[in-house]
């Protein structure tokens, strides 16, 4: 199989999964207790409104036609209408998406930047103090509920020391980027941005930092005991190259796979982190929508979340296949 074919194949598979996601989300409406209209109409809607909604959504049609219509609209970028908010779902969901992406990216970048060196250090200095330190740290990291960590961070850094903002998202990366060309002072904007994002990013990223540290450590130990490492030593290759070029590279492959799969956890974590920090992302939208029974928005959000997951995993696989052609033929 050629690389192009592989990418095509993987994308089609991804598309299949997205289709599955949409189907599940569509089905959610029908596993809701009560009439599906309840899933769409506001609580206090009058019977007339309900009827109107039912007709508009074709709820009086057979299921497969409804499903077809749903898919058809979705393909046109129409995720339905939130009667509770009186808005198109698409606008709402995509309005919130950037905030979540920003938070998730910030968290993962920090987590990855810290954890991989730590994991390598821990593996290469096995049973030294730094290894014990890293092990305990990562153990704590994977065991701490992130919402609680968030609360504690707010308490210490925002309330007691007042160095970061407690909540919200006053400035986004876009603003920071704009300030490079615009009139706003760059450093001021950057600091303002950091004041908002640092705590939520830490709260969300800690678990991942810990997880990747553990994975990297055990992966490195694993790799370092392999034949090719011994062979590389025997051929006189410098330690640095053996560790970073050879062992780390192979360690990262499974680590990245796990990360791809853990993307769901990251988004799940973002939901609760957003709740703690009033971060205006998809997560808060999901919770609000559930609390207000705004199913069209919930459905839209779930579709977007599921699709991003699939997208990232397809991307990860593609990058892999590019780096390591063996994957293509697997």
């Amino acid at each position: 199989m050629s690389f192009g074919r592989f990418v095509l194949k993987r994308s089609l598979q991804g598309l299949g999964v997205v289709w599955g996601v949409v189907t599940v989300v569509f089905a959610l409406r029908f596993v809701t207790p009560g009439s599906p209209i309840n899933a769409v109409a506001p609580l206090d809607a009058s019977p007339e409104t309900r009827q109107a909604i039912a007709t508009e959504l074709g709820l009086d049609q057979p299921l497969y036609i409804q499903y077809g219509q749903y898919l058809f609209k979705l393909l046109q970028g129409d995720m339905g209408f939130s009667y509770i908010r009186g808005q198109e779902v698409v606008g709402l969901v995509f309005g919130r998406l950037p905030a979540t992406v920003e938070l998730a990216l910030a968290a993962s970048i920090v987590a990855i930047a810290l954890s991989i060196p730590l994991g390598v250090l821990s593996a290469t200095r096995r049973n030294e103090p730094i290894d014990y330190g890293a092990t305990l740290l990562s153990l704590g990291g994977i065991s701490t509920p992130n919402f609680w960590l968030g609360i504690m961070l707010i308490l210490v850094f925002a309330v007691e020391f007042n160095v970061f903002n407690t909540s919200g998202r006053g400035v986004d990366v876009g603003d920071v980027a704009l300030s490079l060309v615009g009139s706003e002072p760059f450093f001021g904007t950057l600091l303002a941005w950091l004041a908002y994002i640092t705590l939520p990013a830490i709260a969300l990223g800690t678990y991942f930092m810990a997880l990747i540290t553990r994975l990297t450590r055990s992966g490195m130990l694993d790799e370092l005991s392999k034949g090719y490492v011994q062979a590389a030593r025997a051929k006189g290759l410098p330690q640095t190259l053996i560790r970073y070029k050879h062992a780390l590279r192979n360690t990262l492959i499974p680590v990245i796979t796990v990360l791809g799969l853990q993307l769901g956890t990251l988004i799940g974590g973002a939901v609760i982190t957003e709740a703690v920090f009033s971060w205006p992302g998809l997560g808060t939208l999901v919770i609000e929508s559930i609390n207000r029974r705004d199913w069209p928005v919930l459905q839209g959000s779930l579709i977007v979340i599921g699709t991003s997951f699939v997208l990232v995993n397809v991307l990860v696989d593609t990058v892999y296949a590019y780096l390591d052609p063996q994957v293509v033929n697997d």
Partner: protein
């Protein structure tokens, strides 16, 4: 010539001038949770210019650990506990002659006493190794060419830099690596080393080497990878090539190709090869001299003909008797009874380790035998009382002496 045997077997004697490497009384142990494992026990041998020395023995007899000990690659929980490894290197000898901590004897230096970084810097340019399983000895995610080029580069940098700087960081630290990663077009390996890698692949008989350098190990067959491994080992232009079961994972037809290649390479470059195998056929085809290992010890040694045609040690005899002969099918094989022992120190009595499997075990075998010269001319020696006197059925140990559990 008889001194040779003595020198090799006796402790503390200096090496001969034509010994590239002379090992004496080398012991390597593993300190595991189950206890101490005596993987290599007082092993002595030497390897001379331009020869192939075979080491043969069953699985677990300590062959690989011996070879790893030579290049100081024994890893925790293992440790070389004793012994000397004399390596002939006038350069090193000069460098360390005045250093009290380092034993120097003529052109030879005892590698056990030089600083670890110096030992490390000898890997590649002085000693190369070919491992048993080529699949696992190549990094699956780096191209074959790149990996060979690395070996070339090690050699290039070693000759370009004075030993003192090279051995400190091996000329390459983390900062350097990161820098190379950031600056495009830079890396550990260079264009030239890649070209050299292509040349080397060509030399070991890989078709279309220029294309194949960019392939990954997974795209090579086992035989080709083993060739690539040999190419990699040759990149450092080593004095000694250690080949640890280089053909065990391969089919006979491919094995024959690889053995031919090794032989050619040895003839062309005049290096010395230590060939480790459990296949007596390979030994017979390839080696000049042979050491037979059992339970961490060399139990018999000598020129090929001496050992194969007139084995003294019952173990050697047993090995030879276990092999169904292709030319002359015997109706029944004469195997050695029992199993290879584990090498746990606590379970090893102070006796001939083979006594429990030996058909000719006598009471005197309950003492540890020294190496006895059988025939100095063929450097034939054996750690067995039978080298001195014939088997005496009267002294035979009772059949169930060792618990009778050995079938």
């Amino acid at each position: 010539m008889s001194e040779r045997l003595q020198a090799a077997s006796g402790a503390g004697r200096g090496p001969d001038a034509d010994d590239v490497l002379s090992v004496s009384n080398l012991s390597t142990r593993f300190f595991t949770e189950e206890g101490q494992i005596n993987a290599v026990e007082s092993v002595s041998f030497d390897i001379r210019d331009n020869e192939i020395l075979g080491i043969v023995g069953e699985s677990g007899s300590g062959k690989s650990v011996t070879s790893l000990s030579l290049i100081d690659l024994v890893e925790s929980p293992g440790r070389i506990t004793e012994g000397e490894v004399w390596y002939r290197s006038p350069d090193l000898a000069d460098e360390f002659r005045s250093n009290d901590a380092v034993s120097v004897d003529g052109d030879h230096v005892d590698l056990r006493t030089v600083p670890p970084r110096v030992r490390r810097s000898l890997r590649g340019p002085s000693f190369s190794t070919i491992f048993q399983d080529p699949m696992s000895s190549f990094n699956p995610s780096i191209t074959v060419g790149e990996q060979i080029a690395e070996a070339v580069e090690v050699q290039r940098r070693a000759t370009a830099n004075p030993r003192s700087t090279r051995s400190r960081t091996q000329g390459y630290g983390l900062g350097q690596y990161l820098l190379d990663g950031i600056i495009p077009g830079r890396g550990y390996t260079s264009e030239e080393s890649m070209d050299r890698a292509i040349e080397l692949l060509e030399q070991v008989g890989i078709p279309d080497p220029a294309d194949r350098v960019d392939e990954y190990p997974g795209q090579f067959s086992g035989g080709m990878l083993q060739r690539a491994m040999i190419a990699q080992a040759l990149a450092g232009e080593p004095d000694v090539l250690i080949a640890d079961e280089p053909t065990t994972a391969l089919d006979v037809t491919i094995q024959a190709q690889i053995l031919n290649l090794l032989r050619e390479v040895q003839e062309e470059r005049g290096m010395s090869i230590i060939l480790i195998t459990h296949d007596l056929g390979v030994i017979a085809e390839m080696c000049d001299r042979v050491c037979v290992m059992y339970a961490g010890e060399i139990v018999e040694r000598g020129t090929l003909n001496a050992v194969f045609d007139d084995p003294v040690h019952p173990y050697t005899e047993g090995l030879l008797g276990s092999i169904p002969d292709l030319e002359d099918p015997k109706p029944r094989l004469q195997p050695i009874a029992g199993n290879v022992p584990g090498l746990l120190d606590s379970e090893m009595d102070d006796r001939c380790y083979f006594a429990d499997r030996c058909p000719n075990a006598m009471e005197s075998c309950l003492e540890k035998p020294d190496e006895i010269v059988v025939d100095a001319a063929t450097e034939h020696g054996a750690k067995c009382v039978l080298a001195e006197r014939p088997y005496d059925p009267d002294e035979a140990l009772p059949a169930d002496y060792f618990g009778g559990d050995s079938e």
